[in-house]
Symmetry: C2
Subunit: 209 residues, 2 copies
DNA sequence: ATTTTTCTACCTGTTTTCAGGTATTTTTTA
DNA sequence: TAAAAAATACCTGAAAACAGGTAGAAAAAT
C-alpha cells in the first residue's frame, strides 16, 4: 500500500482549514497533518522537509502567498504547492505558476474540483480549477510582461496613494520634497505603464503588489 | 426536547459551507438544512419563511450581502441573520447591523467563536467575533455618518473610475458630454466627502458601494 | 398630476497631476 | 572597492482634475 501524501494547509480562516480537513479525512491518498494560519508559522515548522503537499492561500495576514511559494520552492523544490484564493486575477495566477506552484484553485470551486486538482498535481500536472483554466488558456505569451519590481520607497508611496493622499500630503508624511514625491509618482506610473493613480491602484491590486 | 434551529448558509465557497456543515453536524441546537451560493438562490428558496437562522456571507457573486440582509429582514423579521466576511471594515459592520443583522463574524474567527456567537444570537444578543468586537466598541455615534446613496449613473461612473478611466474615456464609453461626466465626478467626491479619486475608491471599498 | 430626484450640459477659474528632461548623493549589490 | 541601483531634488510646460456656480430636460416617486 502507498503511503498517503503528507499535506499541510496554510490559511488564516479556520473554517476553510477545517473544511479541507474533513474533505480529506476519508482519503487514503491525502493526509492532512497540520494547518497554519500564517506564512511565518509554516516557515517555522520544523518538519517542513517531510511535507509532500502544501495547500496555500494567497492572502495571508503576514506574508504574500506568491513570495512564500517562491521561498518554499527554493528550499524544498519537491513539495507540491497548490495555491488557493478567492480571486482569479490572471496576473496573480501566472506569477504563482512562475514561482513554482503546481496549481491554482479558486475557493469557489466545488469540492470535487478540489479533489481532482490535487490528484492532478500529484500526477505531475499543472492543476487549475475550471474557472481558472479559462483564464490561463487565453493567455498568450505577450501578456506575460514582467511585473515591475518596485523599490521600498515606491511601495511606501504607493500605499499612501492608495490611501487617497496627495503629493503634498505624502511629502509631508515622509519628510520629502514635493518634487521628490513627484518623481517617485512618475516612476511608479512609468514602471507599471499606467496613466493615472486609479489605474496604478488597479494594477497593483491585480498584481498583488 | 427543543427543536433545532433550522439554519441555512449563503456563501459561494463550497469549502466554507462544507466546513460549517461539519462544524454543526453534531449540534442538537443548530441544524444546517441547506446552503446557497448566491443571494438569488436564497430568495428563490420556497421555504425561507421556515428558516430560523441565516449565515450570510457579505460578498456574494450576485448581490451585496448588506442589501440582501435588509431585504430578508423586511419580509421575515424573525430570522436571525449572522453576517460573515473576511473583511472587518467598520462601516460595513455598522451598515449590516443597521440593516438588522444579529451579528457579525470574521471568517478568521475560531470555530469556538463561531459557535458561541451563534449561541449568543439565538439568545437575542448582538454577536460579534472578538476582532469585530473591538471595532464596534470604539465606534462613537459621530462615526455613523450616513453612507451617501449613489445614483445609478454615479455607480456606473464610479466603476469606470476604479478601472482607471479618465473623464474623456468615460464620456466616450457612456456617450456623454465631457462636462456631464465632470459633474458626476464632482458629485461623487462631494457626496463621499473626499478630495480625489483615490480617496473615493478607498471610501467606496470601505463602504461596500 | 405634481413634486422631487436624477441626468444632462455648460461656464470660469484654480490646483494638481502628468510628462519630459537633468543631476547629485546615498545605498546596495556584485 | 567599483559598479549599479535607489533616493533625492530641481526645472518647465501641457493636460487633467478639482471646485464653484447655474440650469433645463427626463425620469422617478409621491
Amino acid at each position: 500500500m502507498i503511503k498517503p501524501y503528507k499535506t499541510v494547509i496554510v490559511d488564516d480562516h479556520p473554517i476553510v482549514s477545517e473544511g479541507l480537513q474533513v474533505l480529506f479525512s476519508q482519503s487514503k491518498e491525502v493526509e492532512i497533518i497540520r494547518s497554519f494560519k500564517t506564512g511565518a508559522a509554516l516557515l517555522d515548522y520544523g518538519s517542513l522537509g517531510k511535507v509532500d503537499i502544501i495547500l496555500l492561500d494567497i492572502f495571508l495576514p503576514d506574508i504574500n502567498g506568491i513570495d512564500l511559494c517562491l521561498k518554499i520552492k527554493k528550499s524544498y523544490p519537491k513539495i507540491i504547492i497548490l495555491a488557493m484564493s478567492s480571486q482569479s486575477e490572471r496576473s496573480i495566477v501566472l506569477q504563482m505558476i512562475k514561482n513554482g506552484a503546481n496549481g491554482y484553485l479558486l475557493k469557489s470551486a466545488s469540492l470535487d474540483e478540489f479533489k481532482s486538482c490535487i490528484h492532478k498535481a500529484i500526477e505531475g500536472e499543472l492543476a487549475f480549477s475550471n474557472e481558472v483554466k479559462g483564464i490561463v488558456q487565453k493567455t498568450n505569451i505577450h501578456d506575460l510582461k514582467a511585473i515591475p519590481r518596485l523599490t521600498r520607497r515606491e511601495k511606501e508611496i504607493l500605499l499612501l496613494l492608495a490611501d487617497g493622499k496627495s503629493t503634498q500630503e505624502i511629502s509631508d508624511a515622509l519628510f520629502l520634497s514635493y518634487l521628490t514625491v513627484q518623481t517617485h509618482r512618475r516612476n511608479l506610473l512609468s514602471k507599471c505603464q499606467v496613466k493615472n493613480v486609479a489605474e496604478l491602484l488597479k494594477f497593483a491590486k491585480e498584481n498583488a503588489l
